[in-house]
C-alpha cells in the first residue's frame, strides 16, 4: 500500500501496479521521493524502474549505519532519469550478523564499484556481485571504517600514541 505523500510519484505507482509486495513504504520530503523496498525484491524494483520508467542511470549506491538500531543498515540507491529529469531514492533495510542484499550489477554494470565500496566500508555483502573485494582499504584491513562502532582514529592507533 502506497503512502499518501507518494500519490504523485509515477514510478512508485508503476511498481505497485506490477507487484504490490515490492514497496513497503516511502515518503516525499524536501521535494525528493524515497521508496522503501523489500530487500529481497530490490533487483525486481530496479529492473522495472530501468525498463519501464526510463531510469537509465544509477547515480550512486551507498549505505547509512543506524547502529544500534536493528536492522542497522540502510542501503540507499539514487536513480536518475535524464529523459524525465527525475531523481528517485530507493532504500532497503538490512541487518543481522552478516548483512546481505542482492547485487544490482545485472541491471546497471556501474553498480560494481559502488557496491564494492559499501562492502568495504560498511561490511554489507552483495549476493551475485562479480568481484566482491575491498575497494578503498587494503585487502588485509580489519573492520569496516564507516560503521558507527568503528572509532574515527581506528582500532590500532589512538591520539595518545
Amino acid at each position: 500500500m502506497l503512502p499518501e505523500t507518494l500519490s504523485e510519484c509515477g514510478p512508485a505507482a508503476t511498481i505497485e501496479g506490477r507487484d504490490p509486495s515490492i514497496i513497503t513504504g516511502g515518503h516525499a520530503d524536501r521535494g525528493e521521493w524515497t521508496l522503501l523496498i523489500a530487500p529481497e525484491r530490490i533487483v525486481d524494483a530496479c529492473r522495472i524502474l530501468k525498463e519501464r520508467e526510463t531510469f537509465v542511470r544509477l547515480s550512486s549506491v551507498t549505505a547509512v549505519d543506524w547502529y544500534p538500531a536493528e536492522p542497522r543498515f540502510e542501503v540507499v540507491y539514487h536513480l536518475h532519469s535524464i529523459e524525465r529529469n527525475q531523481r528517485l531514492r530507493l532504500k532497503c533495510k538490512v541487518g543481522g550478523e552478516a548483512p546481505e542484499i542482492d547485487s544490482v550489477t545485472g541491471v546497471w554494470a556501474g553498480a560494481n564499484w559502488y557496491e564494492r565500496e559499501v562492502f568495504d566500508l560498511f561490511g554489507v555483502g552483495f549476493r551475485g556481485h562479480p568481484d566482491l573485494r575491498r575497494l578503498m582499504m587494503p585487502d588485509d584491513w580489519e573492520g569496516h571504517p564507516l560503521r558507527k562502532d568503528y572509532p574515527v582514529h581506528g582500532y590500532k592507533y589512538s591520539y595518545k600514541d
Binding site: 520530503d29 524536501r30 525528493e32 524515497t34 537509465v56 542511470r57 544509477l58 547515480s59 550512486s60 551507498t62 547509512v64 549505519d65 540507499v76 539514487h78 535524464i82 529529469n85 531523481r87 531514492r89 546497471w108 554494470a109 556501474g110 560494481n112 564499484w113 559502488y114 566500508l121 575491498r134 575497494l135 578503498m136 582499504m137 587494503p138 571504517p145 564507516l146 558507527k148 568503528y150 574515527v152
Partner: protein
Amino acid sequence: MPDLKEEEIPLAGGEARAEETRKRRMTVNMGPQHPSTHGVLRVVVDLDGEVITQAAPDIGYLHTGIEKQCEAINWHQVVTLTDRVDYLANLSNNLVYALAVEKLIGDIEIPPKAQWMRVMLAELQRLSSHLVWLGTHALDLGAMSMLFYCFREREELLRIFEMFSGQRMMTSYIRPGGLALEPPRGWHQRVKKFADIFPSRIDEYETLLENNPIWLKRTRGVGYISVEDMLTEGITGPMLRGAGVAWDIRKSEPYSSYEKFDFQIATRTGNDVYSRYQVRMEEMRQSTRIIQQALDGMPEGPWKADAPKLTLPDREKMKTQMEALIYHFKIVTEGVRVPAGEVYQAVESPRGEIAYYVVSDGTSKPYRVYMRTPSFGNVQALGTLLKGRLLSDSIAAMGSMDFVLGDVDR
C-alpha cells in the same frame, strides 16, 4: 601509428591462435606513480602485443576517510574537508555542500548577491580546472608548450581565489548560508579584466592545437565508448556531452539561480578524445559568458543570509552587540543544529555530476555525508574504455576523462 578501425583490431581469442597469443601476452603495471595517470591511479593492463585485452583500475591509494571524518566534526567544519575531495574544483564542492545543508534547513533565503557570486566563482573554478586539464592532457600527448600557456591564465585565476578567500586552492569560500567573507575591494575590476582577455586566450590555445598534426592524429577517432556503456557505467560530464547527450545539471536542475543566465550546453557528437577536447573548449567560452553576465548584473545587497543561528556574525557587530557575541559563541562551541532528514543535492562540476547525500539526525554534526563524485564513476569505466585499444592510445583516452584521484578515493 596505423589507423585501426574497431573490427580490425586483433583481439585475443580463437583456438588456432591461442598458443601464439599466450607467447605474446604480457601484463603491465601502470602506476601508481606513473605521470600520465595524474595522481596515484594504478592500472593493471593485460597486453596482446600492443593491444590492451583487459585493463583493471586499482584505486584507494589516496583514500583519506573524508566521509568518516565528516561525522566527527560539526556542520561548518565539514566545508574545509569538501575542499580536499576534488582539489581542482574546490569551490564546486563547497557549493554542493552548502546547497545540501541549506536544503536540509529549508526556510532560509540566500540573497541574490551571494547566489550570483557563487555562480561566478563556480565558473571561474571550471575555467581553472579545465585549464589544468588542457595543459596536462596536451603535455601527455607531446604538445609541451600548452602547459605554460594554460598555467599562465590559471595563475591569475588562483590569485583571484586568493584575493577572495586568502587561499589559492583550499578556498572554503562558499559556506552554508552564503559566503565566508565579504568580497574584497577591487575584485570586480580584476575579474572583469580577466574575463575580457580570456576569450582571446582560448583562440590562442586553439591555434596551437588545431594546427598541430600530431595532436589531431592522436585525438581524432581515439577513445570511443558507446553511450549505453557510459550511462550504465556511470560516466557523466564532458565525456557524455562529447557523445551528443545534452545533459547539464546547470540547465536540467538549476541551482543558485543558474536559470537566470544565458548559456548553451556544449555538445559534440564525435564521441572521441577530440570531441571531448572541443566540448571543454566550448565550455570555457560559455563559462566566460556566464562570468561576464554575472559581473554586469551583480545585484547589490548582503552577501550572506540573514540567519544568525547559521552564519557567523560580523566581526564589528560582535564588538558592540551582545546577541552577536552570543551567537558567535554558540556557533563556534556547540555548532549549528540542522533539522533531521536527508537530501541528495547534485551540481555540475567541471568533471560531471557531483552529488552529496547528506543525512542529519538533528544534532550539530552530520550523521552521514556521502559524496558521489564524478571521477569515481568515470574511472570505473576505464576498463570498458581501454579494452581492445592500443596501449599508446590509452594515455589519450585516460587524459580525456579528466579524473582527479582525490575525487575518486576521498
